[in-house]
């Protein structure tokens, strides 16, 4: 078992009233699963993903990640946990504009204090694998959307995460580019990486081994 959500609630209080963003979420994710999260806009998909990724907190319930209770962890510990095991892919790529492709890939490794020579090798490996060696000295603004997302995925992968969280990774891409990314995910999943993606597209959702539907913060 990679992670487990039990009776998770999340709310915000406005004007003395609680507005629930997540209601009674129960979810178990095994190592190697590929899960697609679907639901109408505003149903809480991104919120759920952020909670799983420990970027956001929840208010009630129990969340265990690799047998550690996330709720009771200190902020710093929690950060350590996600930094070690989770890679993020975003709809709008979120690459660092000031860094080249190569430097963007290198960044997570620097923070993990990987040694320089080792880092170079890992980056070269990744560039090779994603077929973007020729682009390594370009800045994000010089790449197409699809290429940027490719770099985004590569960056999420480079630190060898157990789990990849992708929030509408193909949202800004045309269908052909989207398909490439999905193929890539499928391949990664076959290699053993656990993936949770949010998507609006039925077709992309089919890549997953399991589909979760959200409606008004509740799993249906």
């Amino acid at each position: 078992m990679l992670l487990e959500l039990n009776n998770i609630f999340k709310w915000v209080t406005t004007g003395g009233q609680r507005i629930f963003l997540l209601k009674d979420i129960n979810l178990q994710v095994e190592q190697g699963e590929f899960i697609s999260v679907m639901g109408p806009s505003g149903s809480g998909k991104s919120t759920l993903l952020n909670v799983i990724g420990m970027l956001d907190t929840f208010d009630e319930g129990e969340y265990n990640f690799m047998d550690e209770s996330v709720y009771s962890l200190k902020e710093k510990h929690r950060a350590n946990l996600y930094k070690q095991y989770i890679g993020f892919v975003f709809q709008s790529y979120h690459l660092l504009d000031d860094l080249t492709v190569q430097e963007n890939l290198e960044m997570p490794l620097i923070y993990k204090k990987v040694k320089g020579s080792e880092r170079k090798a890992m980056v070269a490996d990744m560039l090779d694998r994603f077929n973007i060696v020729g682009k390594k000295d370009l800045f994000p603004a010089q790449l197409s959307g699809g290429q940027q997302q490719l770099v985004g995925v590569a960056r999420a992968l480079i630190a060898n995460p157990k789990l990849i969280l992708a929030d509408e990774p193909t949202g800004n891409l045309n269908s052909k580019q989207g398909e490439e990314i999905m193929e890539l995910f499928k391949q990664l999943n076959e290699e053993g990486v656990t993936i949770i993606q949010v998507t609006h597209s039925e077709k992309n959702a089919e890549y997953g081994s399991r589909i979760i539907n959200l409606l008004d913060g509740r799993m249906v």
Binding site: K83, H94, L96, L99, I110, Y111, R155
Partner: protein, 805 residues
């Protein structure tokens, strides 16, 4: 990691050239200003620090109470120094110095034996052998033990010796002063040039040849060298014994009344450390030396701190201002694994790098501006670039300021939670907005205060220069070095007066300018024994044409006239102030007692300013007497160059072997206020610096504000908002802050500048027009900077702002 930080810092610089330029440039300007001020202050406080025994060297100051007013003086009797040395074991040595022109100090015409030309030299001082030791005068040639012990000796500085004796054989040569071949001087010593930062400046030393050991005439500065660890207050107390032992007997012998003697008993002696003379002397003492002003030192120090503070605030402001753009970066870095301390490190590194670049630029800028600054400040300062401590201290300061300036942005930025940033719910503006508004207000308030200060100082200078002085300084040429005329004086005056371009001529060095002679005396109304206290007043020796040459107004009675033979013996003309001090309603014909000499008042003149306008006009009287240090010539209207040529012809005919030296009374007057004016210019240049720094900050902040709202502006434009609407939206917010700043600045500026003006006996009143002008300038600057940004934004193509999102 560090290399990575450097890399990012470099990319940030490249990406935002304007921002970086303002951030680094503004900081550099601030640092340069600070450096220059620090140099100036360092120079001001360095005066007389070069004496090895500086802690044991003192100048004696006399302090007595006359008519409830504390009177201070630095001039003493000839035997005073010897008495100090013999009567007080604490005093190792006491020496005297005379800087008064009639004794032969000041300006002299000088000629090397065997040459024809006289050269005008300005820096003669009379001193005794003891002074030689006390003031640690270093002789390069000659015997230091005897250099000034014999009459007709002369000691000159190295540079003057090199000038007159290029062959290096100055010692034992013969020199004539003021054409007087009956008294040849022998060069007995070559001394090192007196350091520029000495309170007493001289190129030539002459021995004191006055042998009149009386205890009533006061003409000598007295310096003492005391034993180490002397209890100074106790010594000062003991020194009062001099009054009982020497001065009172001498005055009794002269027939002074008992009341006068009682006044003498209030006298005290103070010992002024030699290092205090330049900066901390009471200017009322009129010692005729150049002085600095400790108040200005403090004022400039305050400005330096303000400028640096402004620059640092700008720096912080600009760094946090950019946080909206960098929030995303922070959020991203955190999601891909950055720890908070990584980010803090990154921002601090960036800040320190910027700071150090700014320091380097600041030093370069200061270096480039130094010559101009030296000119304004009339100094000769240098950056101590080669001093071992200079660069390390600057480097340390750069790192420290960089860290300080970077701390806030670093912690502020690194605290962003990634989820907020990535969701876009983070509104960078709101939370830090109030702080930034506060900083803008601080910045603008400071600027407005400085603008007010600049305007008031400027107005006060103008006021001084154009003030009605009670005499007419226009078209008066002052011929200097006229001692040399000797018995040809009368003929010279007559020839000048005959010239058609000359209105009148007067010979006296008692002039209402610095360097003019002064002569303090005490007067009493004759026969009216008021306790013998008398009125302290100047007694100036002038000639018959003095009053009309200087255009002094007569209020009552008449001026001196050759028709009345007694005018040259016992007639006196007094100023209004003196008449009222003496309590005389109808002074004409009244008799005055001065040192047992009786004068009859024949005229009252209007008060005229004979001292700096910092001081009140005090009592002054004129008597007929001989004082030949200067000749003043009032020219007719017309071409002054022609007139001067004629005057010069007469001079050359009379004194063929010395060039004529002259100045204009008007220039001399300006000179007298040069210190005030100089301080004013220095203040104004630094105020300008500060305002420039503040404006740069405003410019950058408005740029930031516009950038932050670019998306909003674009959307408004798409929705059809007119240009005017957007312009107002952007401008009004900012102007509100400016108006608040002006409101805060006016009372502070009013208070501070009033304090400054109190230092002047004659000063302007601060009116609303000054504040209005300051407010207008501030608003103007603000509107221009903001408009530049707002107009750009309002005219922006809407798609441009949206596309980047």
């Amino acid at each position: 990691m560090f290399k990575n930080h450097l890399n990012i810092a470099w990319r940030t610089i490249k990406k935002d050239k304007l921002f970086t330029f303002i951030k680094i440039g503004g900081f550099a300007v601030g640092i340069a200003a600070c450096l220059l001020i620090a140099l100036f202050i360092r120079n001001e406080v360095s005066y007389d620090e070069h004496y090895a025994n500086k802690d044991q060297i003192y100048r004696v100051v006399f302090q007595g109470e006359v008519q409830g007013e504390v009177m201070k003086s630095t001039h003493f009797q000839l035997p005073f120094a010897d008495a100090l040395q013999s009567d007080f074991p604490e005093i190792t040595k006491a020496g005297k110095v005379n800087t008064i022109e009639i004794f032969g100090a000041g300006k002299r015409g000088m000629r090397v034996n065997g040459q024809k030309e006289n050269t005008f030299e300005e820096n003669f001082v009379l001193a005794d052998q003891e002074t030689f030791d006390i003031l640690e005068i270093q002789l390069q040639e000659g015997n230091p033990q005897t250099a000034l012990s014999r009459p007709s000796s002369i000691v000159m500085s190295r540079s003057k010796a090199d000038k007159y004796f290029p062959n290096g054989d100055a010692l034992q040569q013969t020199i004539f002063l003021d054409n007087d071949t009956s008294k040849p001087y022998t060069v007995t010593g070559i001394m090192e040039d007196v350091p520029e930062n000495s309170h007493l400046d001289f190129d030539f030393l002459l021995p004191i040849e006055d042998t009149n050991q009386n205890w009533t005439n006061q003409n000598y500065f007295t310096y003492v060298l005391v034993n180490p660890n002397t209890d100074i207050p106790a010594l000062e107390q003991k020194m009062s014994l001099i009054v009982e032992k020497y001065i009172i007997p001498a005055q009794i012998k002269r027939g002074r009344s008992a009341d006068f003697i009682d006044v003498l008993r209030t006298a005290e002696y103070k010992l002024q450390p030699v290092t205090d003379i330049y900066l901390k002397s009471d200017l009322k003492m009129q010692d005729g030396l150049k002085h600095g002003d400790i108040k200005f030192v403090w004022l400039f120090a305050a400005i330096a701190i303000f400028v640096l503070l402004l620059a640092v605030i700008n720096f912080i402001n600009l760094s946090t201002a950019k946080s909206a753009n960098r929030a995303k970066e922070v959020g991203l870095r955190k999601t891909i694994g950055a720890f908070r301390n990584n980010l803090v490190g990154q921002f601090l590194t960036e800040s320190v790098i910027f700071s150090i670049i700014s320091f380097v630029l600041g030093v370069v800028l200061a270096w480039a501006l130094l010559p101009t600054f030296n000119q304004i400040a009339a100094k000769n300062m240098e950056l101590p670039l080669s001093a071992w401590w200079f660069l390390p201290i600057l480097f340390a300061a750069g790192v420290l300021v960089g860290i300080l300036a970077g701390l806030y942005p670093a912690f502020y930025l690194s605290a962003f939670r990634p989820v907020n940033v990535l969701k876009g719910t983070l509104s960078v503006g709101s939370k830090s907005g109030r702080l930034r508004s506060g900083l803008v207000i601080f910045q603008f308030t400071t600027s407005v205060i400085l603008i007010i200060g600049t305007l008031i100082i400027y107005r006060q200078m103008d006021f001084i220069v154009s003030k009605e002085l009670g005499y007419d300084k226009e078209r008066v040429v002052v011929l200097e070095g006229t001692n040399i005329l000797g018995n040809k004086m009368e003929a010279f005056k007559e020839q000048l007066a005959e010239l058609s371009q000359v209105k009148s001529v007067t010979a006296t060095n008692y002039l209402p300018i610095d360097g003019g002679s002064r002569n303090g005396n005490t007067f009493m109304v004759d026969g009216q024994d008021d306790g013998g206290r008398g009125v302290p007043a100047q007694k100036w020796r002038v000639d018959y044409d003095y009053i009309n040459t200087l255009g002094i107004q007569l209020k009552a009675g008449r001026g001196f006239s050759k028709e009345f033979a007694y005018d040259s013996i016992n007639s006196i003309v007094i100023n209004s102030k003196m008449a009222s001090e003496l309590g005389l309603k109808d002074p004409i014909g009244k008799k005055l007692d001065n040192n047992s000499q009786i004068f009859t008042i024949i005229g009252v003149i209007e008060d005229f300013h004979f001292k700096s306008l910092k001081e009140d006009i005090s009592s002054l009287s004129l008597v007929i007497g001989k004082d030949v240090g200067a000749v003043s010539v009032k020219l007719e209207k017309g071409n002054p160059a022609e007139a001067l040529a004629s005057v010069e012809q007469v001079w050359n005919r009379t004194i063929p072997n010395q060039a004529l030296n002259y100045t204009f009374l008007e220039e001399e007057f300006t000179q007298m206020h040069a210190d005030v004016q100089r301080m004013g210019s220095i203040f104004n240049s630094f105020a300008l610096f500060a305002i420039l720094v503040a404006c740069l900050g405003l410019f950058a902040l408005s740029a930031f504000m516009v950038e932050q709202r670019r998306k909003e502006i674009s959307i408004r434009r798409v929705l059809g908002a007119p240009f005017k609407n957007i312009y107002q939206l952007l401008t009004l917010d900012f102007l509100k802050l400016v108006v608040i700043s002006i409101g805060i600045a006016i009372p502070i500026g009013w208070y501070l500048m009033n304090r400054w003006l109190e230092g002047f006996a004659y000063h302007i009143n601060i009116g609303w027009e000054i504040f209005s002008l300051a407010a207008l300038i501030a608003l103007g600057v603000a509107i221009v900077t903001i408009s530049y940004q707002s107009i750009g934004a309002a005219l922006l193509k809407p798609t441009k702002g949206l596309r980047t999102e």
